[in-house]
């Protein structure tokens, strides 16, 4: 009895096991056909371990109004200017580098148990289970270290170029290196041209790396380790040939690359497609003149055909790279289009970098306006995704935007380019910090020039300051746009932006802003006028503050606001309807600076000063009025005499002709009858009229008194 039951149970178990096995197998196979009961489960989709995380991340967009998440979320630690953004990100990375230097140097502290008693052998200890390689100390290689082939493999796989060279030298001195590893090392050396790359770990350093545009010059190290390894190789394998030729071609050692290729072909060594691609990209170095170069390129392509090697999209890119480097002109452009058409017949689509070279070829700075961008965008917008395949792919968007802004001056195309960049995760194609800022410079300037104002304002609001901080030239463009639109409110805010972005010391920009403020001041609301006045007053104060700070050093000459800019400040600040307003102090300050010749040049609109003088007299500020007209008279403006007469008229409340008769009286009689300020004005009148003061002795004293006791 018992045994039977047991067997039955076992049977049930076995059956269950088979069921699960079969279903497991069924999962592996795509289940396409319908089952008997009409239910067909969907085909299993294999997913990687991070797919769910990526799907979750895709639901959250980037908030352009928040600072980048690499910056700490605290008002004190959020950067505002370009300089600070760079400094903060790189400081954090420097700290991280310091920490990993300590980890590598003091590796025993990180890999052994701390609480082992002294003098005893230390027990290896890892906090994580299973151990995580990323947190473990990296080995340090020096001339004494004992190395094996595993070390060489490790350094090659992690692209530690200098370490790899050291380990190779140690190894070849002792036991020698096997051929596979030699080839791997040769590949590493050729790819980087024996220059240590910035490790992928240091994101910020790569992002902010100095934007040196790689020159098209021979940088290949002749007689370097790569050359030595290659010449010592015996027999030379096809891989070795391919590697060295590609390395030489990549670093523009064109003649030797082609000679080696020739040698390989004579020996009957097969070359790969990528070798031909590399040769194609430097074919122009062999010949002079467009026609010869085109012929050489064609010859190389037909040689590929003879060898039976099929081209790929990189072949197209290399051809276009060569062609775009040969200058412009109709012949090259038609040739490039021919090549693109021919590759399309072979069903090879141009990649982003190919399009980049096309844009370079067609859209020259001083060339005729050719619109290839529309076609390119039509093609790119139709694609599902833009996968980066070439290092030059990151140049596409910045060039496209540059073409939109400078060559075609078309806001619609710029919008399309921007939309394409923002689609999915195309933003990774923006390149690095330098390219990103140039991209936005082009976008903002094309929007300022050609977009309707509301749209521009919206764009500026989203981009500035967290994504992009405008450079001085772009700031000028923005000020111009705001001035045209008459947005006094935003213009007043521009001043605080200038201060925050560290541009407030640029006098040209400040002067431009003051001009813009003056031009659109009259038709603003009272509230906005108030803001503009305070901004103008602040500019004056900021100038003084900078001067005070800089005085002890005085190594760099401080730029001062010009007389016209000061006049603008005076005009803005004098527009008040109250005697007790603080703005009068600012006016007085600006006038004092004008008179003490702290400003460069002469005011372009002296009539502003004369009207301010009249106004000051009306509001019971005779001291200010006197300073203003004296300044006019001292500078020898024509307006000085009429200004004197009118101001005096207002001050004494008499008609003009009476004032003029009064002014003809001798100084002694005036002195007794007039207020000291009025006396100063009378003196200014004589100065303006005759070119010399009435009585040369008293003028300077009296005006210094009067400016105080108004």
């Amino acid at each position: 009895m018992y045994s039977n039951i047991v067997i039955q149970r076992q049977w049930a178990r076995l059956a269950g096991l088979f069921r699960t096995l079969s279903s497991l197998e069924g999962q592996k196979l795509p289940v396409g056909r319908k089952s008997i009961d009409g239910i067909s489960p969907p085909v299993r989709i294999s997913r990687s371990s991070t797919d769910i995380l990526q799907a979750l991340a895709a639901t959250v967009g980037v908030d352009p109004t928040a600072p980048h998440f690499k910056y700490h979320d605290d008002p004190f630690l959020i950067p505002q200017s370009n300089y600070r953004k760079r400094a903060y990100a790189l400081s954090a990375e420097a700290g991280r580098k310091a920490a990993s230097w300590i980890r590598d140097e003091q590796s025993q502290l990180f890999t052994t148990r701390e609480w082992d008693p002294p003098m005893k052998m230390k027990t290896p200890y890892h906090n994580a289970d299973p151990p995580i390689d990323a947190f473990n100390p990296r080995p340090i290689y020096n001339d004494e270290s004992k190395v094996t082939e595993e070390d060489l493999l490790y350094t090659i796989q992690n692209a530690l170029l200098e370490d790899a060279i050291r380990v190779y030298q140690l190894l070849s001195a002792s036991e020698g290196v096997n051929d596979d590893l030699k080839l791997a090392l040769l590949q590493l050396l050729c790819f980087y041209n024996e220059k240590e790359p910035i490790a992928a770990e240091w994101l910020e350093e790569r992002w902010f790396a100095a934007a040196t545009r790689e020159r098209q010059a021979t940088t290949w190290r002749l007689g370097g380790l790569a050359d030595k390894i290659f010449s010592a190789m015996d027999p030379k394998t096809p891989e070795a040939y391919c590697t060295v030729i590609q390395g030489m071609a990549k670093y523009y050692q064109a003649e030797r690359a082609h000679a080696l290729a020739q040698e390989a072909m004579e020996k009957g060594i097969p070359l790969s497609t990528s070798v031909y691609n590399a040769l194609l990209s430097c074919v122009g170095f062999l010949k002079e003149g467009t026609t010869l170069r085109i012929e050489a390129l064609k010859a190389l392509l037909s040689q590929m055909n003879e060898q039976g090697i099929s081209p790929n999209s990189d072949t197209l890119t290399s051809c276009l790279k060569s062609i775009s480097a040969w200058g412009g002109g109709k012949a090259l452009q038609t040739f490039a289009l021919q090549i693109v058409a021919e590759f399309k017949q072979l069903n090879i689509q141009p990649g982003l970098s190919a399009y980049y070279y096309l844009l370079c070829l067609f859209c020259k700075e001083r060339g005729p306006r050719i619109d290839v961008l529309t076609t390119i965008l039509n093609d790119l917008e139709g694609r599902d995704s833009l996968e980066p395949t070439d290092a030059m792919d990151t140049h596409f968007f910045i060039t496209a935007m540059g073409v939109c802004s400078e060559h075609l001056q078309n806001i619609d195309l710029a919008d399309r380019v921007h939309a394409l960049l923002m689609k999915d995760d195309n933003y990774r194609l923006v390149g690095d910090a330098y390219k990103e800022s140039i991209y936005y410079r082009h976008l903002v300037s094309v929007a300022c020039r050609h977009a309707p104002f509301e749209k521009t304002a919206q764009l500026l609001d989203t981009l500035i300051p967290n994504i992009y901080v405008p450079e001085p030239s772009v700031m000028e463009e923005i000020i111009k746009t705001l001035e045209l639109a008459g947005a006094g409110d935003r213009l007043a805010e521009v001043w605080s932006q200038l201060v925050v972005f560290g541009l407030a010391k640029r006098v040209k920009l400040v002067e431009r802003l003051l001009d813009a403020l003056c031009n659109c001041y009259t038709y603003q609301d009272e509230e906005i006028k108030e803001k503009i006045r305070s901004a103008a007053a602040d500019m004056l104060k900021f100038g003084q503050m900078v001067q005070e700070q800089n005085e002890p050093e005085s190594r760099t000459p401080i730029q001062k606001l010009s007389a016209s800019a000061l006049t603008n400040i005076i005009e803005l600040c004098a527009d008040v309807k109250d005697k007790a307003d603080e703005s009068w102090e600012v006016v007085g300050e600006a006038l004092a600076r004008l008179r003490s010749e702290q400003a460069s040049g002469l005011p372009s609109r002296p009539e502003v000063i004369s009207s301010v003088a009249k106004k000051a007299a009306t509001y019971g500020k005779p001291g200010l009025a006197a300073t203003a007209v004296t300044y006019l008279a001292e500078c020898g403006f024509e307006e000085a005499t009429t200004a004197c007469v009118e101001t005096l008229g207002v001050m004494l409340n008499r008609p003009t002709d009476e004032v003029q008769t009064l002014l003809r009286e001798p100084r002694s009689s005036l002195e007794s009858s007039l207020h000291p300020s009025a006396l100063v004005i009378a003196e200014a009148f004589h100065l303006a009229k005759t070119g010399a003061p009435i009585d040369s002795s008293a003028s300077s004293e009296s005006d210094s008194e009067t400016s105080d006791d108004d």
Binding site: H72, D74, P75, F76, L77, P79, R84, A87, Y88, A89, S91, A92, E93, A94, G95, R96, K97, A98, A99, S100, I102, R103, F110, H126, N127, A128, P131, I132, F135, P137
Partner: protein, 168 residues
């Protein structure tokens, strides 16, 4: 406390030389615990600054203030109890030493999965650039030591006075 222990020892040795009695009477701290530990003594001049965290004695935890370490290891069947406690102490000392004279608050350590978040209030006595250097340095070094991602969540205040809750 030390003197009381010595007195005890003397008394005990006077009464009897048996070590069993000594060991059973050696626990002097529990009696003091409720009265003294986690509390601050009032000074004569009443000028000792206390933060909010210090001003609330331990029995207000979970009523007026919260824990300084957040983890699940001290729950029933929690993992890595001694390690967690030791690591927390290490993190506190590391932070206080690295951000020397800048930390104005208790250091709060929050653990989620293998992620450690360290929160503190920092004085703005050094430039932001230096702060970023220290941030990167402490995050990376602690991550390498503890073998898990560490994130610093700092807030800055102008001076220590900003975190003072009262003077006693």
């Amino acid at each position: 406390m030390n003197s009381s222990i010595f007195k005890l020892i003397q008394n005990v040795s006077a009464v009897s030389k048996s070590s069993a009695i000594l060991s059973s009477q050696f626990h002097t701290s529990p009696a003091l615990c409720r009265v003294v530990s986690g509390k601050y003594r009032i000074t004569k001049k009443r000028d000792k600054p206390l933060t909010y965290e210090m001003a609330n004695p331990p029995h207000y935890i979970a009523h007026r203030k919260t824990w300084n370490s957040w983890n699940t290891s001290s729950l029933k069947d929690g993992l890595r109890r001694p390690e967690t406690a030791l690591e927390d102490e290490f993190i506190r000392r590391f932070m206080n030493g690295t951000w020397h004279g800048l930390v104005c608050s208790e250091i709060i350590i929050k653990r989620q999965f293998n992620h450690i978040r360290v929160a503190a209030i920092i004085r703005r006595a050094v430039s932001p650039t230096k702060m970023y250097f220290l941030l990167g340095y402490s995050e990376e070094l602690m991550a390498n030591w503890l073998h898990c991602p560490v994130t610093l969540e700092l807030q800055t205040v102008d001076s220590f006075k900003d975190v003072v809750f009262k003077y006693i």
